[in-house]
């Protein structure tokens, strides 16, 4: 292995949060500044490194870190267009979330533990994004489970430990299934590298039966994290976690890891043509569609704001799977770009939910009357996120929806439009009542548990600016969708490569 810059960069990107994470564990609880410095240094260093990598990939450079674990088992981290998309998302949102979390946990306990695992979590996510083969993917996928468990359980209340246990039961089972699938696949093919266009196309048709079975196992494994119904049960339960964690779970790390894995398996392992031939895309499409509708219906019945958002995630993440399940580059673009768009929209919503809870003690939708006037900027950010989720142009969500719809029609699957329409209406059904309460209902006489932060703004700066910034991202991702380096343009680049256009 050669230790030049291109071979080190992907590894360095993973380490840039791993090392600070390890040090943070050792930081004494009261050393607030040191911990903050470590956190921010890691986050910014990662951002810089990712920037270098984007530039390099744009120039056509190949980045690959290979570490041989054992003969035939190699840890591969490399940067293709798809990984860059996901890495950039996680890196940018990590920085924002770190700032948010520092503010959010200002006066809480066990912060060293929290931020340590927080960093591990991001390292694992980045590792998933950069995985160059299935083995590496599985490894980081499991590490992610382990790193997020303490975050979910962080509060230590009985509900928190319960939620964390449920989370773990689901995700570990899913991880095992993924492992079994990966091992099985490996016995057929040898090392399973991620190759644009897939690597199983050349296998003999005799093995197709096995490939279908393997896909089922892999999908069941990935579907847990991607919260495909009926494997979604953990997600609403893990809402007991602190808001930054929920944001991270929903927007960046866990569910995305599952969805990203599905994308990887379909495009870079099976190859979309083979997957379509084997009828796998249909199965995926049906599952995704069902999840989209089911998640939204359940979201409508939730009064807890975070639970409602959680079910919304169940629904929205399946857009990615839906895009993957449709044969054709347009739908692929829709699915991939939603990976980013859902991330920035959902993180905005969760930040806002956290702000309401922290500032006013408002945790339920039914308590949200008039919050728009008490916290206008937060509510504005929430509004942008919510409308984006519904798919109102020109916010990011519309872009995804458009490409999914168009992709469905191009693929001859007109029913996709029905799913999208239903989902839009249902999304409106659970988001608009919140906006109505927030902006149009009168203020209550007092808030459940109000905090005064003595700033010029409605809440602490570290809490206020992250959602505002991500809301701006949502708008920009929509308004500048056709500009160079936008998520949409990257998704197009990926789709072109996957389809060999």
């Amino acid at each position: 292995m050669s230790w030049d810059y291109a071979a080190l960069l992907p590894g360095a990107i993973v380490l840039s949060s791993l090392l600070p994470g390890v040090f943070i564990f050792l930081v004494r609880e009261e050393s607030h500044t040191l911990r903050t410095v470590l956190n921010l240094v890691g986050a910014i260093a990662k951002l810089v490194l990712v920037g270098l990598m984007i530039y390099g990939v744009w120039l056509g450079q190949v980045f690959e870190t290979r570490i041989a674990i054992a003969p035939g088992l190699t840890l591969v981290l490399n940067a293709d267009a798809l990984s860059v998309l996901f890495v950039t998302l996680s890196t940018v949102l990590w920085l924002v979330t770190t700032v948010y979390a520092i503010g959010y946990l200002e006066h809480s306990t066990n912060r060293s533990r929290f931020f340590g695992f927080f960093s591990l979590c991001v390292s694992a996510t980045v590792g998933i994004a950069l995985s160059g083969n299935l083995l590496t993917f599985v490894i980081f996928y499991e590490i992610l489970t382990l790193a997020t468990y303490p975050l979910v359980a962080h509060r230590g209340t009985p509900e928190a430990t319960r939620g964390a246990k449920i989370y773990l039961a689901y995700t570990l089972s899913g991880g095992l299934l993924l492992l079994v699938g990966a091992v099985w696949l490996r016995t057929l093919t040898g090392p399973v590298d991620f190759v644009e266009g897939g690597m199983l196309g050349g296998l003999s048709p005799d093995l197709h039966g096995q490939l279908v079975a393997i896909f089922a196992v892999l999908l069941a494994g990935l579907g847990v994290k991607a919260a495909l119904v009926p494997l979604h049960g953990w997600l609403p339960q893990s809402m007991v976690a602190p808001a930054p964690v929920s944001s991270l779970l929903h927007a960046v790390a866990v569910v995305k890891a599952g969805a990203f894995g599905i994308v990887r398996v379909v495009y870079d392992v099976y190859g979309v043509t083979l997957a379509s031939q084997l009828g796998l895309l249909t199965v995926l499409g049906v599952l995704a569609s069902f999840t989209i509708v089911y998640g939204s219906i359940l979201a409508m019945t939730q009064d807890g704001l975070k639970k409602r958002l959680a079910y919304s995630t169940v629904s929205q993440v399946s857009y990615i799977a839906l895009g993957t399940s449709l044969l054709g580059p347009v739908a692929t673009v829709g699915g991939l770009v939603h990976l980013v768009h859902q991330g920035i929209m959902k993180i905005t919503l969760f930040f806002c939910a956290g702000n309401y809870a922290e500032t006013l003690g408002v945790a339920n939708v039914s308590q949200m009357d008039g919050v728009g006037r008490r916290m206008p900027l937060t509510t504005l950010a929430f509004t942008v996120g919510a409308l984006g989720m519904i798919g109102i142009p020109p916010i990011a969500g519309f872009v995804s929806k458009w490409y999914l719809g168009l992709g469905g029609v191009e693929a001859g699957q007109h029913w996709v439009l029905v799913i999208l329409a239903t989902s839009t209406l249902l999304n409106a059904g659970y988001f608009l009542p919140i906006l109505y309460r927030a902006w149009f209902r009168p203020l209550p006489a007092s808030w459940p548990k109000e905090h005064h932060f003595h700033t010029r703004f409605e809440t602490m700066g570290a809490l206020l600016w992250p959602p505002v910034i991500t809301a701006v991202f949502c708008l920009l991702a929509g308004l500048l969708a056709s500009a160079p380096f936008s998520p949409l343009e990257w998704a197009r680049l990926i789709a072109e490569r996957e389809y060999g256009l």
Partner: protein, 491 residues
């Protein structure tokens, strides 16, 4: 006499004598011996790495009577593991025992056990193996009963008797083999067994006696009955040694016999029996661990399960023709054994710390303690994930290859066993870990007691990070021995 092969056995033996002679100095002498022994093991590994399998005939007699030592890749890897774990246990033990009587009886027995362990791994003939086996059993039982409380004594008395029974059975098998083939040297014997298929009845009887005797010591289900009480009631460093090393030594011997000696006469049917029992061990052990009320009992049952995994490899090895696939399986087997050694030792050491701190080890009441000792909890978490087989631990790679072998040889049912076992393992590990997230006051520092926590943490870390991410050297070690010895089935 400065050959590392000899030093590995002699140094702890000398150390044992010294601490017996100078009990006042036992801690200092003990730790010096531990360091020296571990150093010798490292030197041995380096020597094997460079020169391939090492042979040594001690005493100058002819090969029949002399003490034959041999270090091939398999043995070397286990020796290195055992000695690093031993060093960790020793460092931990310096701070663990406070009662002077205990201190004085711990060190001689521990060093004796260590010597027996190294001897067992390195012995090249059945006779020496027998001696080391007996020595190991006696030292282990004595150490296990060190706390002197009733449960510990009763459990370890049972352990002693089981060990004796196993050794006698083994010895009878040795006798039969000697009758038939007239030699005890492993290499010679392997050739003669392969060359004399007409003696299969004697060979089979000998094998049944030896393997059954050793299975008793290796605690293969349902012969594990003695293990949980013995390991759970011993002092923490002893539990660590018993669970991580002693049981593994018995398994090592089974493997040696199976692959080196009796390979020509074993078939799929014979390999299935231990594997089936191993499968039940995985499930039953994990289930019992999940239901255990005490932390150390949990760890002990976990050992039962983990030993079960090792037996699953036998039918896979049988079904896989020599080649890279079989090498992978062997390496995976070794990797799982070694990882379990580090992980279980780390787990027990950490559990001991929890017990000392809380005054008990009832899992349901651990809350505050687990939270007060972050480094300890971390060690439990790390070694726990190695026990589950989560990446990047060594057992993850091991399980990966195990399942790969199972699917490749069409024995897919083991995959179900492995996954179920892993799920149960996660359940019991996280049952403990979830106690660490409570509303109790939080610690201000990561490490509270360096002398005890650093060894536990280091061992756990090795099982996770080092073995999981850099297990390639194991293949190299095994490859060296395959080239060097060329016996029978070719370990």
């Amino acid at each position: 006499m400065t050959d590392p092969l000899v030093l590995c056995i002699a140094l702890p033996l000398v150390g044992a004598m010294l601490v017996t002679a100078l009990p006042r100095w036992s801690v200092r002498l003990g730790i010096v011996s531990a360091l020296a022994t571990a150093g010798a093991a490292v030197a041995l590994t380096a020597a094997v790495w460079q020169q391939g399998t090492l042979h040594l005939i001690l005493g100058g007699w002819d090969a029949q009577l002399a003490i034959a030592l041999r270090a091939d890749g398999l043995a070397t890897a286990l020796v290195l593991m055992a000695n690093l774990v031993g060093l960790g246990i020793s460092v931990y033990a310096t701070g663990y025992f406070h009662d002077r009587l205990r201190v004085r009886s711990f060190w001689p027995l521990w060093l004796l056990l260590w010597a027996a362990l190294n001897g067992l791994f390195l012995a090249g003939d059945l006779f020496n193996l027998y001696v080391m086996l007996e020595l190991l059993g006696i030292a282990a039982a004595a150490l296990g009963a060190l706390t002197g409380n009733r449960d510990a004594v009763a459990a370890n008395l049972r352990y002693l008797l089981v060990g004796l029974l196993g050794s006698i059975s083994y010895l009878l098998g040795v006798a039969l083999l000697y009758t038939a083939h007239g030699t005890l040297d492993l290499g010679l014997l392997a050739q003669r067994i392969a060359a004399a298929p007409e003696l299969f009845a004697v060979n089979a009887a000998a094998m049944a006696l030896m393997v059954a005797g050793l299975a008793l010591k290796a605690a293969l289900f349902p012969l594990h009955f003695w293990l949980p009480p013995a390991h759970a009631n011993a002092p923490a460093p002893v539990s660590a040694a018993l669970s991580a090393l002693v049981v593994k030594a018995a398994f090592y011997l089974i493997l040696r016999l199976w692959l080196d000696l009796f390979w020509p006469i074993t078939g799929m049917a014979a390999a299935m029996l231990p594997a089936l029992l191993g499968a039940v061990a995985v499930l039953w052990g994990s289930w019992r661990a999940l239901r255990a009320e005490r932390l150390k009992l949990l760890a002990a049952y976990s050992t039962v399960a983990q030993i079960g995994y090792l037996f699953l490899f036998l039918p896979l090895l049988t079904a896989t023709p020599p080649g890279p696939a079989r090498d992978d399986l062997l390496a995976a087997l070794l990797l799982m054994a070694v990882t379990h050694g580090f992980a279980k030792a780390g787990f027990f050491l950490a559990a001991g710390l929890v017990q000392t701190n809380a005054g008990h080890d009832r899992i349901d009441d651990l809350g505050g303690t687990a939270q007060r000792l972050p480094a300890t909890t971390f060690a439990i978490a790390l070694s726990g994930s190695a026990l589950i087989g989560l990446p990047p631990s060594g057992s993850f790679i091991g399980k990966w290859l195990l399942m790969q072998g199972a699917i490749a040889t069409g024995q897919w049912w083991w995959v179900i066993v492995v996954t179920t076992g892993s799920l149960l393992a996660s359940a019991y590990v996280f049952r403990v870990l979830s106690r660490a997230f409570g509303l109790e006051p939080t610690p201000l520092k990561f490490i509270t007691d360096a002398r005890a926590e650093v060894p536990a943490l280091t061992l756990a870390l090795i099982s996770v990070a080092v073995l999981g991410l850099a297990s390639g050297p194991l293949w190299t070690l095994l490859g060296l021995s395959a080239a060097g010895s060329g016996t029978g089935g070719g370990v």
